[in-house]
């Protein structure tokens, strides 16, 4: 049983109680992913599993046997930040930074979801292609709370990253 994290294979824990979040921060030593509520409510623990964003605090590591996980460390480094990381820097999309890794992982997946044409609660025409509007971004990012209230700049950063990407 193994799991791939940012391209590297890791053994799965013997204790099935270990969440994916605790595996990442513990055994794998990747402390970029944060623990906020530990109950699926805040989004600080958001990572990508096979490209889909999930709350790693509500996932048992053993259930992810064979899966590919990408964390904030896999999206870029301090010297070579990824597109979304650069946009958050350029727009001050954070204050204390605690929610930021989750925001960035979430936003990265979100742009792919819009590209894939998945609707959201803010999408008016369910059958049309969703657009990248402020309203769409706010609804789609509602699972990532920011206690510093950096929301305005987070939305601006995501808009920029979406533009660069387009």
């Amino acid at each position: 049983m193994a799991i791939t994290i940012n391209g590297q294979e890791h053994a799965l824990p013997d204790d099935p109680r270990v969440t994916l979040l605790d595996l990442l921060r513990g055994d794998a030593g990747l402390t970029g992913t944060k623990k906020g509520c530990d109950h699926g409510q805040c989004g600080a623990c958001t990572v990508l599993v096979n490209g889909m964003r999930i709350n790693s605090c509500l996932a048992l590591a053993v259930t992810h046997d064979g899966d590919e996980v990408t964390t904030i460390e896999g999206l870029g480094s301090p010297t070579e930040p990824g597109v979304m990381q650069s946009a958050f820097l350029a727009h001050d999309g954070f204050q204390c930074g605690y929610c930021t890794p989750g925001q960035i992982c979430s936003a990265t997946a979100m742009l792919e979801e819009i590209k894939a044409g998945w609707p959201s609660d803010a999408t008016e025409d369910l059958e049309g292609a969703p657009e990248i509007t402020g309203e769409e971004i706010r609804e789609r990012m509602s699972g990532n709370l920011c206690r510093c209230g950096a929301y305005t700049n987070i939305v601006a950063a995501i808009r920029e990253a979406a533009g660069e990407d387009a």
Partner: protein, 326 residues
Amino acid sequence: MRPFDYQRAERLEHASQLAADSETLPLAGGTNLIDLMKLQVETPQTLVDIGRLSMGEIAEEGEGLRIGALATNTATAAHPRVRADYPVLARAILAGATQQLRNKATTGGNLCQRTRCYYFTNIDQPCNKREPGSGCGAIDGVARLHGILGTSPQCIATYPGDMAVAMAALDATVEITGESGERSVPVRDFHRLPGDTPEKDNVLEPGEIITAVTLPAPVSGKHIYRKVRERSSYAFALCSVAAIVDMAEGRITRADLAFGGLAHKPWHDPRIAELLVDSEPSLALFDKAADLLLEGAQGYGENDFKIPLTRRTLTAVLCDATGVEA
């Protein structure tokens, strides 16, 4: 979290065999079960992981659609047939939780998600659902999210989900497999009222696994899911209405309605369609529909507001569906 034994089911029969044990629970997306295990509200000795069984398919079935028990909420809401022919279902799913949660949440797990009653999720409080006979903390306590229809002196909890409310309006069917074979149950009859046994949320027997939900052939009409909540996103329903309403020659020809946030199950009252169908829409008619719906309604202090709120929400939805000015 209490220690437990983890088993991965290789076949469906294997899963129902294991789950027949009263100390064993099936694990799908885990977004509700893992949460409750952390709180020690659920303390199974064994988890049988059904996540790798091939039950994720969404496929045409006759003119209808069969949604596998392991189809994620995301996959269902994004499915072209669901968006085109069952928009009330796509809307209900998208109004629930967050994208991260919907990516994990499954059809079966969503149907079986447990109540959000604050006493149920706090093991230091009395709760007949969690610990039969310990009393109901909510009935004289904090009851903002709680039920106004079909409650009992033992439990006033609500079924918190959105997806199943739309499925009840659509008259979908739950497909179930157990050790003794297969059976199907209408979504409208899948959840129970609490009565004297609030520990039982639904009609599943030990060892029974949901394999799919089948939607009947699509029907014409306007599809609406209106969810009233404490904030505009990412909150459970105080009250929700799923509606499929059609009109011809100034009269209502279809009024399939179901309600969330009001009871221990998605609420469906056949008398409402009987009243509305063949009538000319008007505010007076909608008021009568609300009278029928709320006939036996009872508030518990903190949730008294749900009675007028439900009346207004139903009226707003029917106005929207029929073009009557509010």
